[in-house]
Subunit: 301 residues, 2 copies
Amino acid sequence: MPDRPISTIAFIGLGAMGAPMAGNLVRRQFRVTGFDMREAAREALVAAGGAAAASAAEAAAGADALLLMVVNAAQARAVLFEAGALAALAPGATVILMATCPPDEAEAIAAEVTRTGRHFVDAPVSGGVNGARGGTLTIMVGAPAVSFARAKPVLDALGDKVFHVGEKPGQGATVKTVNQLLAGVHIAVAAEALSLAEKAGIDGRLLFEIMGGSAASSWMLKDRGPRMQEPDPAVASAVDIFVKDLGIVLDAGRAARAALPLAAAAHQMFLAASGLGHGARDDSQVVRAYRALNARPANDA
Amino acid sequence: MPDRPISTIAFIGLGAMGAPMAGNLVRRQFRVTGFDMREAAREALVAAGGAAAASAAEAAAGADALLLMVVNAAQARAVLFEAGALAALAPGATVILMATCPPDEAEAIAAEVTRTGRHFVDAPVSGGVNGARGGTLTIMVGAPAVSFARAKPVLDALGDKVFHVGEKPGQGATVKTVNQLLAGVHIAVAAEALSLAEKAGIDGRLLFEIMGGSAASSWMLKDRGPRMQEPDPAVASAVDIFVKDLGIVLDAGRAARAALPLAAAAHQMFLAASGLGHGARDDSQVVRAYRALNARPANDA
């Protein structure tokens, strides 16, 4: 029954993003069976109207689709190929990979999945926990048109900005990679700007007020700028996430043989911030690496 | 009469920015005498209700304020110290430097002006020709409070976002420098992102549509991104302007002993674009340097 629309979904990875996404699928009348290592996460899905399985393969058994919202490509491989979830799916089922993965890894996983006669949809997201809760994620899809069409009703339940960016798996991951390239550089350059201004005795709050209303503005400058003035702001996303994500950006550039000088320089600053012991702090604290470099000299008595 | 409010203004530099700014001062009832090397520019000011002088010193003779909207610090020095405009001003007059200058040069000029007993206001602008015409410029002022207060009615005629960023001349120039740091890096990183996406076969228009609605957005990405898709867009501001302005940014970092790795990397890309023969093209064409680096390999037959 290769043309049966997707009705039953195995959902793997019920974390901060995955849990509300699975809930949105339940509300749209999909039959969702979830799996996560953490028992509390499984119980929460049951409370939301889904079912819980004792393993990824059990969740996948006979399902029309497998949705992966795991941490990285290695976990996606483990679920699909080692835990046996791929083999357990219905013939002609659709695998939807929504984790942030390097483009070449998404492409390699796609090749292994389609070899079994199943569909593969490379569909990473942006929009964070708020987007996951509200069903307003941005979803960047690389997949053949026929596979995209099958997955579309599922994706529409999760996001309101669903873009088919190309026919090849890995192209969705590339667009997500480009998103992280821009986001990471925008945070780092806001910190670089602040460190120069602070050295000249300019008030950081006033600086970002002026920049936020000018052609020098960015989404990240407005969002992270105020948190750069705080000594230790609540963690929305950690420095080490950009150590990882700009690492993926540079790996993608390496695989494609593309020079990315700004991404490379920004990655160094996130690495330095992490090396200074700030990896678990809010990513706005990349400014600490700049302050370590560009501090005004202390008055040694 | 040191406390007499500013009534007569010598305006030097009646270019694309200066001409409409001088017109706005005339409309606010200031008595404006202008000077520019180009006769057509002087005639335009007379037509707008101002007066024209045959030299900078003649324009400055006995004036309450001297407003400099010249190209750079060297021109400002030439007008003030070589052409004799400073000495011609009324005692206690106010010099308002609105050109984009390196912070240390603004500071040095300030020292020479204040030595004669006159006020100095470091007041660079952003907002472009549209802001100059509409009187909606952003003005970033470094000056002692008393000097700022004297200049304020003049500045209010030119901009609607007038910020007193510090008591020291050079601090206004620093904020303008930071503005150019952010703007230049944001243009270059948009080009870097586009070049990576193009290499993966992603449509640039779709890419910027997605990025413009995400946390990866910037003012420059939305403004310059579409022009990066055009083969040779109309020049709003040239590649060589950012060769100059990011040069000022790096000179400011050098003078302050501040490392600015992203600004330095972005400057290299604008330099390369200029070296490839694109210096006079629209600054969005920094993407040509990235395309030269990251082009997809040609199929040599």
